[in-house]
Subunit: 639 residues, 2 copies
């Protein structure tokens, strides 16, 4: 698949954008007119720079408001078009995007449109330019891709084709299956964009909220499947108008963009495999390739595949970094964790409770740089890494690498376990580990007495980890965990806190063995230390809480008002309610089951949670989150 | 008018919210349940604190999903209600908000609703509680305030009334006139909220985008007029769910909120004056008060008035502050400004070009604090103050003070002009000056030779000033300039820049003698030096540009691509186009006229613009803004 991206997706100058696209590995770019108009580079400079960078210049865009106009305006529009065609010759570009008219359209006649688009095609032919006509979702008369295609067919000129943009098609919920019947020679260009499901006017939605494939809710693999089956083999190019990407680091956004296309390519191939048409005599091309999956035929567009992984089987460990480890050691001890000793060569400690392993790294956390938006004070404990159990760490690492995840190999001595790892968008290190069915881990032999640490004690596991995300990289993180780690985004939630709404995106495996919560902190908190946490699941939370209390653990103190409200809402048995209140436990209930949990006080920017899931409860106690936030806020104010 | 505010409008803990409301001068508050549930304060503590702070506790809210349910659920709901009634007794509160059911409503029967609301009213009666039933805009069966009122009338119980919330009414575009016919004894509560015109689902709009009155587009004065005419005299209380206010400084937001109610009170009185019903025999009450405007009758709700001002007649001066003034002096000189001398007692200089006066203040700009989001480096020049010509500075200052604008009196010696001033939300100082018809200013005698400076030279005036606004205070600024300075918000615009979209809100007088542009910089720029500017209008921009060029002015260099595009768009005469390009002039044209302008390079965080308006052109060259931003970005990168 030939990959492309429109310069409007990125921040910076045209030069910076082109360089970032080349570094990220795109085949070509679309030049967004404004980026050229505002650039000190001449068209000839741009042409040379693109050649030097190995980028093709695939599409000049947009040319607006051409069709459906009066005779006078048509003359002016053709003059305007000719100026752009001449400019394209200097750029060495041959395809221009013409959008259906939204502003000056005054005559609703397909006959007239065929005539006017015919005029344009003839002029384009004189200049060796191909016009890709696109139905904007909010076009005045033409807003349906099939309508645009019908006009193109009627004009029947070799210099007029159509551009298919997934946003304009899927935002209107048009069926994408008819694409398959299109003559591939008339599909001049394909643009892909994803978007979250928002109920708002389509223009605002399009101009501000588009995201890269995999970061929204559109069925893009299916869209692409139809495009591939139609026989299209040109560039698949991103055109994403997004308020956040426009102001984020250009190189980083370009990599996020490239990752989305790599992922989309794989998903499209999977969709084609899963939706193979019933065998029939007349294929688009001849023999199927030998390496193709059964049922997938060879199409003019080749779709590359990635190393395949299944979802992780669980958390292998969580790692907290701290220059001063005393606070952490105290809390883990009070939570019932056993100290399993220090590493034989590194300055790290291992603590465990059942299957839950926490590594304390005794080196100061790196100050996260300003671009992440989340500053942590250097000495305070912070979550630094997560280990996941996967079938094959090598295959998973290869996949992550192909998805352009920055590698972070962990140094190791001879005879020590080598962890494959990469950096997540919030700069947490993600390590890929070999899971075992009995919950132990071979690398634990490198700690203390040199014996493998048994999964002893109470049946505890890491239930979920909650990471704060910088606002610029929230969408990127969703795609990252989806594509590289095979986690599935769950429905989005938001909870109020005293300093603003906290947006929360759960990423999880189907069996819920891994639950990762990505929190988008209020902007005002982004620059302060935002709190993250690790939650452990136990079988009997009340017993655990009693033990922790006996050990002197500092619980987050829950207000009495909370228990009164709980009683008003649920009508709990008085004894049970008294127990909850006595132990500062929080409670939730839904149709599936019950949830009991408590929080520790915060150490640095980290705190811990203990949870008990009863029945099939699948949530995180969201109704209790405002209480947690308020009490933590109060606690930090007083500290 | 009794003023109130719901605690959900503000950030912080319940205690912090209550204190901020008292400081801002509210009469009472609504307790949002979650704020109490998450608070360590007992209900008795809250009651005492409110009494100590002089706040009444006007409404406990919300109680959700009561009506339209099955028998089983009704029993549970009545139990839940009784728990809250008992809690309210401890708080010393007598009114609770019950919202129409959105979640558990299963039976669509007005008869059943009348029966169930009757049960609730009877229970409330036993506890001395008044239930204010409100139709949510997205209520499953009840989403129209007239429907809610009809149910209340049908139940006909002294403990059941209705709550009118302007958001739920105006977001659905319901006619507000029928409110006048309501029995005022059945209107238990009135909530006011404004909102921008957004085309999105009403629930998201309501939960995230409400703003304080005067900051959105709702016709709230009319809504209030109908409420007043109905004979309602209870609290008028703000209930604003807004993502930004939730994370802003609590005391500051409370003042912004109070300002909005003071302004709404005045606007409501004006609406009543302007829409006095035709005289008839039966008034609601008896004789009209002596101080009432003709045509306004006396209503149970008294509406206070403010000192009245008309819109300012123009800019009197703009002031730039700089520790190192050399760069500024050079640029002003090159722009043709005349140095009129230093002030006799202060470290300030006066420069003028025709009627346009610029003061250079030789003291370092105060570092704007972190809460504004916009940091300026201490020594770099920055716009510090604006002077406006008003009819009566004293009356205007009195009005601003009643609107809780923080006063910033300028120190002055004997025989010197005393300026009334106050601080705008972005901490720019706003001064109120006595305008003269010949464009001179008496205070200029304090500079140089002691002579009043004539409005000599080319006919130049300050055309507009462009100020960067911190993201937390953008809505606040709109209300501030609307209410205190009688500027009118114009339609909102946004332009792309290499670092993100810049949102732009023009505030102007009807005659355009004053144009003030509030720019919301991309978040990533908020923490860097964002550029602001002062624009001067001249009669002949080409001649001015030639003079400036001869003086050695450093123009912002406009790319050649821009002029090619200009030609493609407008087909300009070749000579004229060549002149534009030679002088780095920008050009725009619309149905009303033409606009020529150029920019200087940036000095500190300030740059200057020269404009010429031809015909009735009323814009700011918005199509050229991306070019300006891109070139400035490039310039700053290279510096």
């Amino acid at each position: 698949m030939r990959t492309g991206i429109a310069t409007v997706c990125l921040s910076g100058t045209l030069k910076e954008k082109m360089q970032a696209c080349a570094i990220a590995g795109f085949d070509g770019i679309e030049i967004f007119e404004q980026d050229l108009v505002t650039s000190p580079l001449t068209p000839e400079d741009v042409r040379k720079m693109a050649a030097d960078l190995g980028l093709t210049l695939d599409l000049y865009q947009p040319f607006r408001d051409f069709d459906s106009v009066s005779e006078d305006l048509l003359t002016a529009n053709l003059r305007r078009a000719e100026a752009k065609f001449k400019l394209m010759a200097r750029l060495g570009m041959d395809t221009i995007l013409v959008c259906s008219n939204v502003a000056t359209a005054s005559i609703d006649s397909d006959d007239l449109r065929v005539e006017q688009l015919g005029n344009l095609a003839a002029l384009a032919g004189d200049h060796g330019v191909k016009v890709a006509y696109e139905a904007l979702a909010w076009g005045k008369y033409v807003n349906d891709y099939e309508h645009a295609h019908k006009l193109v067919e009627a004009v029947d000129h070799p210099n007029l084709g159509t551009c298919l943009d997934s946003f304009h098609i899927l935002s209107r919920s048009w069926d994408t299956a008819p694409i398959e019947a299109f003559n591939p020679e008339k599909i001049f260009f394909v643009q892909v964009a994803d978007a979250p499901e928002l109920s708002m006017d389509v223009l605002s939605w399009s101009r501000h909220y588009r995201v890269f494939p995999g970061e929204g809710q559109f069925e893009l693999a299916k869209f692409m499947g139809h495009v591939v089956r139609a026989g299209y083999s040109g560039p698949v190019s991103l055109e994403i108008f997004n308020d956040v990407f426009r102001q984020s680091d250009v190189e980083r956004t370009a990599v996020d963009a490239m990752r989305s296309l790599i992922w989309l390519e794989e998903q499209s191939a999977k969709w084609l495999d899963a939706n193979a048409p019933a065998p029939s005599g007349a294929g688009i091309t001849g023999a199927a390739g030998g390496t193709q999956a059964p049922g997938r035929r060879r199409y003019p567009m080749e779709l590359a595949t990635l190393p395949q992984v299944t979802e992780p089987a669980g958390y292998n460990f969580a790692e907290v970094r701290a220059a001063d480890t005393k606070g952490l050691e105290t809390v883990l001890g009070q939570l019932g964790f056993e100290f399993n000793g220090r590493h034989r060569t590194k300055d790290v400690q291992l603590w465990s409770l059942g299957h839950a392993r926490v590594i304390i790294n005794e080196t100061a956390p790196a100050d996260r740089d300003d671009s992440t938006g989340i500053a942590t004070s250097a000495a305070a404990p912070a979550i630094a890494a997560l280990g996941f159990d996967v079938d094959s760490p090598v295959i998973a690492a290869a996949r992550a690498q192909q998805l352009k995840a920055p590698a972070v190999p962990r140094k190791s001595q001879a005879n020590e376990e080598v962890f494959q790892g990469f950096a997540a968008p919030d700069s947490t290190d993600i390590f890929l580990c070999q899971g075992t069915s009995d919950g132990t881990a071979a690398w634990t032999r490198e700690f203390g007495e040199g014996l493998e640490k048994p999964a002893a004690g109470p049946t505890a596991v890491i239930d979920h980890v909650n990471l704060a995300q910088p606002w610029q990289h929230f969408d990127e993180a969703v795609l990252f965990y989806t594509s590289a780690l095979a986690l599935e985004p769950q429905p989005f939630a938001e909870v109020p806190s005293p300093t603003g709404l906290v947006r929360s995106q759960v990423m999880a495996t189907g069996d819920r063995a891994v639950r990762l919560v990505l929190n988008l902190a209020p902007l005002n908190q982004q620059r302060k230390t935002y709190q993250e946490h690790i939650a452990f699941a136990v079988d009997d939370l009340v017993a655990t809480a009693r033990d922790c209390k006996a050990s002197g653990l500092e619980f987050l103190q829950i207000p009495a008002n909370y228990y009164e409200d709980l009683d008003a809402r649920f009508g709990l048995a008085p004894d049970f309610l008294a127990t909850l209140q006595e132990l500062n436990l929080l409670y939730d209930r839904d149709a599936d089951g019950e949830f009991l949990h408590f929080y520790t006080a915060t150490v640095g920017s980290v705190f811990f949670e203990m949870v008990e899931r009863r029945g099939a409860y699948d949530g995180y106690g969201a109704p209790n989150a405002p209480v947690r936030h308020a009490v933590q806020y109060d606690y930090l104010q007083r500290r």
